[in-house]
């Protein structure tokens, strides 16, 4: 597939990004760069200095809502990607309406409770949607641990073992790897398997 054809097929596609932290901000930027037509992003949180070790924000954006700053950053990268930004805390009630027009939803929460919540909401209330989750990304090194696991329309990217803790913090490289794996799975769903590639 030539890049022009890739852009043409992504132009009319919409991807939901649930959370605009390390996974969400980096995944959204990768998809915007690739030429996705529309992103629906949602987060209630404000950018803090401690986020800048992995999240796609700038020092002068500290204090801004993440969902607002991410829309700005994406528009600076690719103004052709439409960004619908929601400054809300996602929950079981609003997820179906916020993401109803999405072809694929990317889970980018930090807490296990919200990861479980979106998994169940999508499965129960929007079973036709793909959900791409990120699980296991703390620390550094161990590239060989990263995989994606497919369970019907639920796909899990990450190393599956390294939980974020005070003594095993999230850092840009591994968080970025998982965010980009999620974006990569989104492309595989939207464009189909790449037949020209050795895999």
């Amino acid at each position: 597939m030539k890049y022009e054809d890739i852009k043409k097929s992504l132009k009319n596609k919409t991807v939901g990004i649930a959370g605009c932290g390390g996974l969400g901000s980096n995944c959204a930027v990768a998809l915007a760069r690739t030429g996705i037509g529309k992103l629906i992003i949602a987060d209630f949180d404000i950018i803090e200095e401690s986020n800048l070790n992995r999240q796609y924000y700038f020092y002068d954006q500290i204090g801004q809502p993440k969902a607002t700053a991410l829309k700005t950053n994406i528009e600076r990268i690719n103004p052709e990607t439409i960004v619908e930004s929601h400054l809300i805390m996602l929950d079981a009630n609003n997820i179906p309406s916020v993401f109803k027009d999405c072809d694929v939803i990317v889970e980018a929460f930090d807490k296990t409770e919200t990861k479980e919540m979106i998994m169940k909401v999508v499965s129960h209330k929007m079973p036709e949607k793909y959900l791409i989750m990120g699980i296991g990304m703390a620390g550094w090194g161990a590239n060989n641990l990263f995989t994606d696991k497919h369970f019907d329309k639920l796909i899990i990217c990450g190393d599956g073992v390294n939980e974020i803790r005070d003594d095993n913090p999230p850092l840009a490289p591994r968080v970025g790897i998982v965010a980009n794996m999620q974006a990569n799975v989104v492309l595989e769903i939207l464009l189909g398997k790449n037949n020209n590639q050795i895999s």
Binding site: D110, T112, K115, E116, F151, I156, I164
Partner: protein, 67 residues
């Protein structure tokens, strides 16, 4: 019995086991576990009441904080 566990064929000696028994045999002891049996979520309190039979599709995932 033969079941599919996390996308892989898995053989158990018994013909029927509860979700709880399978978790013990497989030593799934993570703190935050999600179980789906034939695409239906099974809540923790039902692990010992839910039986798994030949041909079932069982998914046991553990969730980790971080994102």
């Amino acid at each position: 019995m033969k079941i599919i566990l996390n996308n892989r064929e898995e053989v158990f000696e018994s013909d029927a086991l509860t979700v709880d028994e399978i978790m013990k045999i497989k030593r799934f002891t993570f703190s935050k576990i999600i179980v789906k049996l034939n695409n239906t979520f099974i809540e923790k309190e039902d692990y010992d009441k839910t039986s798994v039979k030949e041909g079932d599709n069982l998914v046991v995932l553990h969730l980790l904080a971080g994102g």
